[in-house]
Amino acid sequence: MTDAPQARRTLIVAGAVTIGAVLTTGVSGLVAPLRAQGLAPTSTMRGGANNYRPGALIVDRIGGGGFWLTGTVRRAGDGAPIPRVRIQMWAHTTEGHERDPQSHGATLTDVNGVFRMEMPQIVPAFGQAHGHLAYDAEHDGNGFETVFLRPVMRSASDKSLSADFVLRRA
């Protein structure tokens, strides 16, 4: 008899947690209804690796700054954030072409799997204002598969650009 209220409370709490999870999942939950099977890994984008210079140094900022390249790194399946992952980035900016060494830099994700890099303003090159990001297994000890991203800015006057990684264990 004493067990019954306890069981009911557990059920209510479980229900609330489920509703909460659905709410927080929000749009991404609608976009990926197969979430129960796990978060799918990000695939490399076409042209993502173009003008890549492997092993760019970890820097506080690329060049003079004024523009932010941000994003998150999560684990495929459970979506857990991955801290201390090395993300390399480069772009055609007001301070150089994509191939120029000063256009490249790397940073590490924080405890929440978030990375933020300040860099010069990205400007349109080869027809689109876009950035490049790499998770390169060769230059990171966390043991995930290599992924190259090439996000495009909605407008060339944007002051930031973001791209998210979902990595799969190698």
């Binding site: 984008m45 076409r46 042209g47 993502g48 690796a49 173009n50 003008n51 055609h92 900016t93 007001t94 301070e95 072409h97 994509e98 191939r99 400007v123 349109p124 090159a125 080869f126 027809g127 689109q128 204002a129 090439r150 060339a156």
Partner: protein, 214 residues
């Protein structure tokens, strides 16, 4: 007193000069140039020049430019065609020097940017047209067959180039690019209708039918 004809002639030439120079002036004043090295800048200008040459071509082919005899106009059309080939070669080569992997992706039709494929298709159509024109004497094509091939390729070039240009965030600026593209399309459409190609094809088909009946 100045007659109507010279005034009209001067107006046509002046309009053409403005239509050709305005896009170049816009491109030359683009803020993007400050962040590009000379080779990349040259690549962009070669593209702008190529689009401008596409406006001259139908005007020469149709003999619309006052003061030029049709024969001379057509000869000039061939020369401008060679210039178009050169502009396309410079455009692609200079882009390749700027960023080889992006150009290789474009040429292999696996570029992430959809406008690349339109440009590459137009490029091959330009080369095919030049080859066809160079071999015209040896191929001994009937005039109507030659024109049909040439016009089909010209349509591919015009549509491919205009879509390619319009989708690019480049140095020309959207207004001058849209205006030049509209003029290029209008000139191409006019010459295609004026050449009465469809009537020629119909006539040829009916001749074949008559021959078959005999």
């Amino acid at each position: 007193m100045i007659g109507a004809r010279p005034v009209r002639s001067a107006l046509i030439w002046a309009t053409l000069a403005v239509a050709l120079t305005v896009p170049v002036v816009f491109a030359a004043s683009s803020p993007l140039l400050a962040w590009r090295d000379p080779i990349y800048i040259a690549a962009g200008f070669a593209g702008v020049v190529a689009l401008a040459l596409l406006l001259i071509q139908p005007l020469l082919a149709g003999g619309y430019l006052p003061g030029l005899r049709l024969r001379f106009s057509r000869r000039l059309h061939a020369w401008v065609g060679s210039g178009l080939v050169a502009a396309v070669v410079v455009h692609v080569a200079a882009l390749w020097l700027t960023s080889p992997p992006d150009v290789v992706d474009a040429l292999l039709l696996r570029s992430p940017t959809p406008f690349s494929a339109w440009g590459v298709v137009a490029m091959w159509a330009v080369f095919a047209t030049a080859l066809l024109a160079a071999l015209r004497g040896r191929l001994r094509l009937k005039l109507v067959v030659w024109r049909l091939c040439h016009i089909i390729l010209a349509v591919v070039i015009v549509v491919g180039s205009v879509v390619h240009a319009m989708m690019i965030d480049g140095t020309m600026g959207i207004v001058s690019k849209a205006a030049l593209s509209a003029l290029v399309m209008a000139a191409a459409v006019k010459v295609i209708f004026d050449l009465r190609l469809l009537a020629d094809i119909r006539r040829m088909a009916s001749r074949h039918r008559h021959r078959a009946m005999r």
